[in-house]
């Protein structure tokens, strides 16, 4: 396993690479470019970087306007503010007219760490998923983030991508990235574990622990929450008969619900959601906070085992 890299850092690097190949790409930020890592793009292409100041609603609507001029705006700030504060602007001014704006929001989930619950958005996937026609992507590691950035630039229409602050394992290598197509990272027969974001690497580790207990767990990286890969979800739920979802997000409205929506009334199977249980986050070192909410590999393994 390579060194750990945060998905936000990979995002910043990928934007620079994309900017060299596509002069239609412009980037907006709301005074957080040093945290979302859009500062890399700002340095490389100052004439294509627009700071909106601490005004997230203004930023996403400026993105809407820029998109109508044939440009491809990538808007970034923290998930709490991009998906939260500017929600109605995203809904009415970007998604409703189907404008080609990419909303790439960092510092999602409790792995933000020290900044605490006010800055740990555990609702963004739910907020974005419920908007008609919105595409929602959660890359699992740095390599997948790079692929997702390029896929988003080629994709026509509004899309949300969730990024994280915490440096995390890089394990993705030669997996294809196609929006809407989940990747099976590990085959198994007893339980199908659907995960996204940082929880993919934790789930892979959890599967290794379960193997020692004689439990065979499949791990599927659902990098696209919407449109979800219903075929893959159905197939693996049927194969294993037991389903567990793992996300660094509220268990309400995110990956777990998206998977449940596919299966409900169609596939008879056990079902268990692992995530943030209707709580706000809190300050602490990121690994400690993740552990507080039961989102480390040993905890995930124990939770899966208990659910079987």
């Amino acid at each position: 396993m390579a060194d750990k890299i945060a998905t936000r850092a990979a995002y910043g690097d990928a934007l620079v690479e994309l900017g060299a190949k596509n002069d239609k790409v412009v980037v907006l930020d709301a005074d957080l470019s040093h945290a979302t890592m859009t500062m890399n793009f700002a340095k490389a292409y100052p004439d294509r970087f627009f700071n909106a100041g601490i005004a997230e609603a203004n930023m996403v609507d400026m993105g809407a306007g820029l998109s109508t001029m044939g440009l491809i705006p990538f808007c970034s700030t923290f998930a709490m503010f991009g998906a939260g504060r500017a929600y109605e602007q995203v809904r009415n001014t970007i998604a409703y007219p189907k404008f080609n704006v990419k909303l790439c929001m960092s510092h999602a989930g409790v792995s933000v760490g020290e900044d605490g619950g006010s800055h740990q958005c555990v609702e963004d996937l739910a907020l974005m998923r419920v908007i008609p026609g919105m595409t929602v992507i959660v890359p699992a590691d740095a390599n997948e983030t790079r692929k997702a950035v390029f896929a988003l630039a080629d994709f026509q229409g509004p899309a949300y991508m969730r990024l994280c602050r915490l440096a995390s394992p890089v394990f993705e290598d030669d997996q294809p990235f196609e929006i809407g197509k989940a990747n099976v990272l590990r085959e198994g027969t007893d339980v199908a574990v659907f995960a996204c974001g940082l929880m993919v690497s934790e789930s892979l580790e959890a599967a290794k622990l379960l193997e020692k207990d004689g439990i065979s767990a499949a791990v599927i990286n659902v990098h696209t929450i919407k449109p979800i890969d219903a075929t893959c979800v159905t197939e693996w739920a049927q194969k294993c008969g037991k389903v567990v979802t793992v996300e660094e997000h509220s268990v309400i409205g995110g990956l777990g619900d998206a998977v449940a929506d596919v299966l409900m009334g169609k596939v008879a199977c056990g079902f268990h959601k692992i995530g943030i249980n209707d709580q706000f986050g809190q300050s602490g070192k990121a690994p400690e906070v993740l552990a507080e909410y039961g989102l480390t590999a040993p905890q995930i393994a124990a939770s899966i085992k208990a659910s079987l």
Partner: protein, 271 residues
């Protein structure tokens, strides 16, 4: 087009507003009637648009930030030839392109979906910024209400317009003084608007009568200071042109009945 011809267009648009809202039995006649000269002035004397090619990338842009004035917008778009007046019969009805508030996906000539207040200036900023970035001579016009200026985002957008020196942007304010719950002053005072707008770095032209088509046309034609967005602060009359609607809060979001339609159309006849 001379002033007499432009006045005729304004009267026709006012008749459209009355007919559309009466047909639908709902809609917003008051703030549509106050905005007529501003919108006609922009579309007829300033904007480079082609009804045959509504998505021409080199067209000028218009954003109706006060999206509830959709009947005025649709009247102007029909008069310009973007849409057919046949659509007016089904305004606000199921499956019609003319939604209660403008939908850019459905109506040729509509550059942004609006209706949720406070967002037009930011959208216009993005368009004006994009035009400058691409080296285009595109002009961008945005029409805001006055009550809408109570939305904080308007001021975020104005700040950005000045910061990015968007002198290809014109912000028009339909200052009719009334909003749903009463006058601006009763609901949330706007204070010295001209001073506030100047303090935000705009080149402000204040029109004592924003329903005077010649004054509007002259203000639109007047140059702006280099590097400064232009702002036309137009004092208008809500319900303008229909005696029983003028300056009446109650006609913000109420449609005329058949009798009121006929009276309004009679008043607008021959103007």
């Amino acid at each position: 087009m001379n002033m007499e011809e432009l006045s005729k267009v304004c009267t026709q648009v006012r008749r459209d507003i009355i007919n559309m809202t009466a047909n639908a039995g709902s809609g917003h006649p008051g703030g549509s009637l106050s905005a007529v000269e501003l919108m006609v002035g922009a579309f007829y004397t300033q904007m480079r648009v082609d009804p045959q090619n509504p998505h021409d990338p080199n067209r000028d842009r218009f954003i109706l930030s006060k999206g509830h004035a959709a009947p005025c917008y649709y009247g102007v778009l029909a008069e310009k030839g973007f849409i057919s007046r046949d659509e007016f019969k089904e305004f606000r009805q199921l499956h019609n392109i003319l939604q209660g508030h403008p939908d850019a996906k459905k109506v040729p000539g509509v550059d942004a979906s609006t209706g949720s207040l406070g967002q037009g200036v930011s959208i216009a900023d993005g368009m004006a910024l994009g035009a400058k970035h691409l080296g285009k001579d595109t002009k961008v016009f945005v029409l805001c209400g006055d009550g809408e200026l109570q939305e904080g985002q308007i001021w975020e957008g104005l700040m950005a317009a000045a910061h990015y020196k968007l002198d290809n942007l014109t912000v028009m304010i339909d200052n009719n003084g009334l909003q749903i719950d009463g006058s601006n002053d009763q609901v949330m005072s706007l204070g010295d608007l001209a001073a506030k707008l100047r303090a935000f770095g705009l080149h402000v032209i204040e029109l004592p009568d924003g329903n005077d088509i010649k004054a509007v046309v002259d203000a639109l034609a007047a140059p702006t200071e280099a590097g400064k967005p232009k702002c036309i602060l137009a004092h208008t009359v809500k319900g303008k042109g229909v005696s029983f609607m003028e300056n009446q809060v109650g006609w913000h979001g109420k449609a005329p009945n058949e009798e009121q339609r006929q009276q309004a159309l009679a008043e607008l006849e021959g103007k």
